[in-house]
Structures are given as structure tokens and as C-alpha cells.
């Protein structure tokens, strides 16, 4: 299980490749890996988005993400979990979040990956501020997850 906050852009596919290579003991054990990457769209609510600033609560964010992963590990038979989340200034098209779950069978990986994302969005203390052509605005809620 690895949880990381990043203040610079990251490549989710490179991270996944490196993570699997580092977890050599996992190869051959997992039959399923479900992942989700959330990225910054250049359009939201009809407005062009020029960028975003992601604020978080240092300490609490990591703690809450750890709790979310521990809860998932108690609910599903998971072999590994990876969460990477950006903080700071983000450009359109850049990844914001990567969540991955490895398990023996696909049901567990799919369910855990989606549940991790929903828990992250509803509980982890992050706040998004969008930069528009004519100013800034705080994002005031999430789109429906189910």
C-alpha cells in the first residue's frame, strides 16, 4: 500500500509500471488490476478552465487516505493499493489522481478501485479552485459517482 501527495505533475502509467516492478513478489499473484486516473478538463460548467489550484490539509489528508485504504483492505481481498494525488497548481490535461487496486480476481479489484475513489472524493480534505478567463472560483461539490 502506497499513498503519495505530489506537488509536481506525474505520469500515472509510468508510476504504475514502476510500482509493479518494485513489488516483485506480486507478479504472478494478482490476476486483476483496476485503476482510475482523474485529470483536469479544460472545460467545466460551460467555462474554459485555464488551471486549478488544489489545496489540502497537510497531515490530515495523508491520514484520511491511509484510513480509506485500510478500510478497503478490510473489506476486499486486496494484494496492493496505490494512491497518488496532486496538490498545488495544475494545468488542464494533467492527472489529478491515480488510484489502483490489485487482487487475485477482478470483482475485488473493480469494486475496491471505485470505492476508494468515492471515499477519497467524499472524505479526503482537498479543495479545488478553478482559474477561469475572468477570475477564480472554488469548486463547490462533486459530480455524482454512482
Amino acid at each position: 500500500m502506497r499513498i503519495e501527495l505530489r506537488d509536481t505533475p506525474f505520469d500515472p502509467w509510468g508510476e504504475l509500471a514502476a510500482h509493479e516492478q518494485a513489488q516483485v513478489g506480486l507478479t504472478g499473484q494478482f490476476g486483476a488490476c483496476a485503476t482510475f486516473v482523474g485529470s483536469l478538463r479544460d472545460l467545466n460548467l460551460g467555462d474554459e478552465v485555464h488551471g486549478m489550484t488544489l489545496e489540502h490539509y497537510p497531515g490530515m489528508t495523508e491520514r484520511e487516505l491511509g484510513r480509506i485504504c485500510t478500510e478497503a483492505a478490510g473489506r476486499w481481498e486486496l494484494l496492493d493499493q496505490l494512491v497518488i494525488h496532486r496538490v498545488g497548481a495544475i494545468e488542464p490535461g494533467e492527472p489529478i489522481v491515480l488510484v489502483a487496486a490489485w487482487s487475485r480476481h477482478r470483482r475485488e479489484a473493480f469494486e475496491a478501485c471505485r470505492a476508494l475513489m468515492e471515499a477519497l472524493k467524499s472524505r479526503a480534505p482537498f479543495w479545488k479552485k478553478e482559474h477561469l478567463a475572468d477570475g477564480e472560483r472554488w469548486v463547490d461539490g462533486n459530480t455524482a459517482g454512482y
Binding site: Y57, I96, R123, P125, W127, D140, N142
Partner: protein, 77 residues
């Protein structure tokens, strides 16, 4: 004894303040801390509260040395 208060995101901007140190008596709730830190402003109904990095109810008791966070609904991911 003192309590550390932190404000985040839109709340921080509205209050024009990212935190404070407030003095409390022996018995205080998070809501009491809010009133003391904001000079008596009413707490908006959607504000989330944490004590020592864990979510809690606004009526939870606060001890000296605690860190109390106040913030709007989260929007990560």
C-alpha cells in the same frame, strides 16, 4: 491552555485568516472554539470540523493542545 485553529479553502478566504491560537477554559466544544476564533461569527451549516486530524462533530469536546480544523465540503479527486 491554548488550542490551534486552522481554516481552509473558501472558508479561509472568507475569514481572511488561515488560523489562530485561542485560549480555552476546561470545557469547550469545537463550536466554542469556532466562536472564539472568529469573534462570534455564526458557523455556516456545511462546515466540516476536525480535531487532531480526524473528522468530528462540532459538539465534540476539545482539550488543551488540540488542533481544530474548520473547512468547507471537500472536492478532491
Amino acid at each position: 491552555m491554548s488550542v490551534t485553529v486552522k481554516f481552509f479553502a473558501s472558508l479561509k478566504e472568507q475569514l481572511g485568516c488561515d488560523g489562530a491560537t485561542v485560549e480555552i477554559g476546561e470545557v469547550a466544544t469545537a463550536a466554542d472554539i469556532w466562536l472564539q476564533a472568529t469573534g462570534g461569527k455564526p458557523m455556516p451549516p456545511n462546515i466540516l470540523v476536525s480535531i487532531n486530524l480526524e473528522y468530528c462533530d462540532r459538539n465534540c469536546p476539545v482539550k488543551p493542545g488540540d488542533e481544530v480544523g474548520f473547512f468547507p465540503p471537500v472536492t478532491g479527486g
